[in-house]
Amino acid sequence: MATEPLLEASGVVKSFGAVLALRNASLEVAPGEVVALMGANGAGKSTLVKILTGAIRPDAGQIRIKGRDHRVHSPAQARQTGLVPVYQEPSLIPDLDVAANLRLSNTPVEPFLKWVEELGIAGLHLDEPVLRLPLATLRILDLARALASEPDVLLLDEMTAALPTDLVERVLKVVRQQCELDRSVIYISHRFSEISSLCDRATVLRDGETVGTVEVGPGSEERIVEMMLGAPVKSAEEIVRATGSALPVQTQETPRLRVRNLSSGTKLSDVSFEMRAGEVLGVVALEGQGQDELFEVLAGFERPSGGHIEIDGRDVRFHHPADAIAAGHVYVPGDRADALLMQRSVRENIALPFYARPFRWGNINMGKEKSRVGAAIERLQIDTRAQGEVQRLSGGNQQKVTIARWIAAGVRTLLCFDPTRGIDIRTKREIYPLLRELADQGSSVLLYTSELEEVQLACDRAVVIFNGRVVDVIDAHDADEPTLMRAAYGLTAGDANAKAPTGEAAEASPS
């Protein structure tokens, strides 16, 4: 690059307690350039963004804007230096009208309205209360507000995620125009198609470190995926599967769970898949692709806005988690704190579902409870030294309690949302065999995991969800990390054989 970079970050380090979120991150943006910031879940993207925008401070490292040291202590200060972010979540205050929001952020109205029109929102009234506006409009307003302040560097985080196609086109056009004015854009997105049409370069983060920058062009996608994954990944044969091999396909059998055209809210648009008895089915998706909604619908927390759920061939509707539990669907949520009574004992936490129904509200048979709970504790090898209060247990043991509860209560279909997030490796290695064991005893397990290697360790097959839809169904045997990563980014798999053995997605359509 001949010109001096507009923004330059190097050697950025940030740790949260014992966790090193960024070890050596760098990023360089030249005037008039669009740079994609890429990285798998947990690579440190959001930490770097927060540092650039002044939300948190780095432990070490240098950030320069236009050659000058960029030391910001608050997001407001970052705006003044010319770096304006547009976040994934709308940032207008819902209870105020649009005009009041503009006054709050000192945004000039004329340019704002000009940008709103440019971006394709017609007939916006400034006295409209923000909470009545649809999500897509809110995101456009956020962008227009950012543009109206004429930023040197615009940071767009998943800008197109909630937008319909026509608005996406407008956004991309406006971003290109910015570059012609010698302004720069940092573009964070999971959509490769947008990145290849928009970005000049892509900077890739992995494990808190900038591992390289790629000129975007034909074939660069493969290189980016490779860089996000790191060293060539172990092939399926090298990974020791916890138990046996995939089950033989029993196509004639009615599936335990069949989901058809399921939709919910704006995130989950059309998901269909089947899960057999005795199967561990993985769900692979980037953050926010609809997997949260899928699990909440299957667990009875949310009602779907469309589609069908069939259990053993019968249509079911859940109005409450209790309905789902009655149908054998039990849920281990992503956040352990959502499932546990932190001040109560291990025993009470495990026994909680026993007493949910009114005819079980009476006397507790303490001996029977003790033996049922004891058996579950034994099976999961929960460390019971601090069993008086669950909050004194380690994260891994807490997670085991949330699973043990359903083993004690009885389980047909276990819905596990990222059960190994943030727990120690030893516990992880105990959880995979447990899931396999449950499956071998005839239960079904739906496992969403943010760690791709877990798919081959624990699953028989994996469905890949992108943008609220199932984009691929992959046999565990073929589900190495590059394949999954490509699929998760919505890239059609180059090698067709990854798709060949499974025709499930097609079969799921109503006949």
Binding site: L352, G362, I364, R405
Partner: protein, 326 residues
């Protein structure tokens, strides 16, 4: 208990842990200290008669405080119990001449339970905040009682003998109201520890999402809870009218705020999930002894109330401090 790591703990930490595991101990110590102070202030006051009287007056308070303890465990509160108790008392006194004692007692409990059911529907199904819901039903109950009073103005009132016997009588020196209170208290303590319903109260108060995830339909629990609270309030009203012997339109209302205080002093968290009924009983005794003490001091009413309020605040603050995790 084997705690190998305990050797390294300082004495202060050990005391703290002991207090946390046995939250009733400091309360009992405080109660004994208050009685000792009272005996020093007025030597000879501590005798069988005084103990009997203290228990007699503490029982209606402890019973209303049971309603607060149970509802607070779920993060709620029941501000309608004062008027629910009053309605039961008033109805039984005015109906006994018409329906006879058993009939009047049965009829008098109905409005109290109805108030409880209304609370349960509002809080459990329509998700109205318990404070607002029970305040509202309490006011409605007050209005209904005034209307009812006009229809029975000619009837006159009398307290049934059995209630007077229960409220004021003694057997071998022990107040007869213990005959109602002891089984009720035992039942509540047992229910909280050893029944599914008790477990669910703690679960709802600590983490309603977790309870929901475990398949608990919270409205069912809440409805049963507030109906139970209404029933206990009604029974309290019957005992209390036997003690006071003069039914009025605001008989048990002055007990409402002390009942909340008794539960809080007894270690029940108003945020839910924590508390025991045994603590509440000691809390009710502490409040009753305090009242006696302030009366003995012969202070003017105003300063007495100020002191009462300050003592409640101080006791609660210290107690929460020493029993909570640091």
């Amino acid at each position: 208990m084997t705690m190998p790591a305990q050797d390294d703990l300082s004495i202060a930490k050990r005391i703290r842990r002991f207090l946390r595991d046995h939250p009733l101990v400091p309360l009992v110590v405080l109660l004994i200290a208050l009685v000792v102070i009272l005996e020093l202030m007025r030597p000879g006051i501590f005798n069988e008669r005084w103990i009997g009287n203290t228990i007699k007056f503490a029982i209606p308070l402890a019973m209303l405080a049971a309603c607060q303890t149970l509802t607070m465990l779920t993060g709620g509160i029941d501000l309608s119990v004062g008027i629910a108790a009053t309605i039961s008392a008033f109805v039984v006194a005015t109906q006994v001449a018409i329906l006879g004692t058993p009939g009047a007692i049965a009829v008098s409990l109905i409005p109290a339970i109805l108030i409880g059911i209304a609370n349960g529907i509002g809080v459990g199904l329509f998700r109205v905040h318990p404070l607002i819901m029970t305040l509202g039903t309490g006011l409605i109950g007050t209005g209904c009682l005034q209307v009812y009073q006009r229809t029975v103005i000619a009837t006159g009132s009398s307290v049934p003998d059995i209630l007077a016997w229960l409220g004021t009588g003694r057997t071998f020196g022990a107040p007869n109201s213990l005959l109602v209170f002891v089984p009720m208290a035992a039942l509540i303590i047992y229910a909280l520890r050893r029944t599914g319903f008790g477990r669910l109260l703690y679960a709802l108060g600590e983490n309603e999402d977790a309870a929901r995830l475990a398949g608990v339909r919270s409205w069912q629990v809440i409805l049963a809870l507030y109906a139970l609270s209404g029933l206990i309030a009604g029974i309290t009203g019957l005992i209390y009218v036997g003690l006071i012997k003069a039914p009025s339109l605001s008989l048990a209302v002055p007990l409402l705020l002390p009942s909340v205080a008794a539960a809080v002093i007894g270690g029940t968290s108003i945020f839910g999930g924590r508390g025991t009924y045994s603590g509440t009983i000691v809390g009710a005794l502490i409040l009753t002894v305090l009242t006696t003490m302030l009366t003995v001091l012969q202070m003017p009413e105003g300063s007495r109330r100020i002191l009462f309020g300050l003592i409640i605040l101080a006791v609660t603050a210290v107690y929460v401090r020493i029993t909570e995790d640091s």
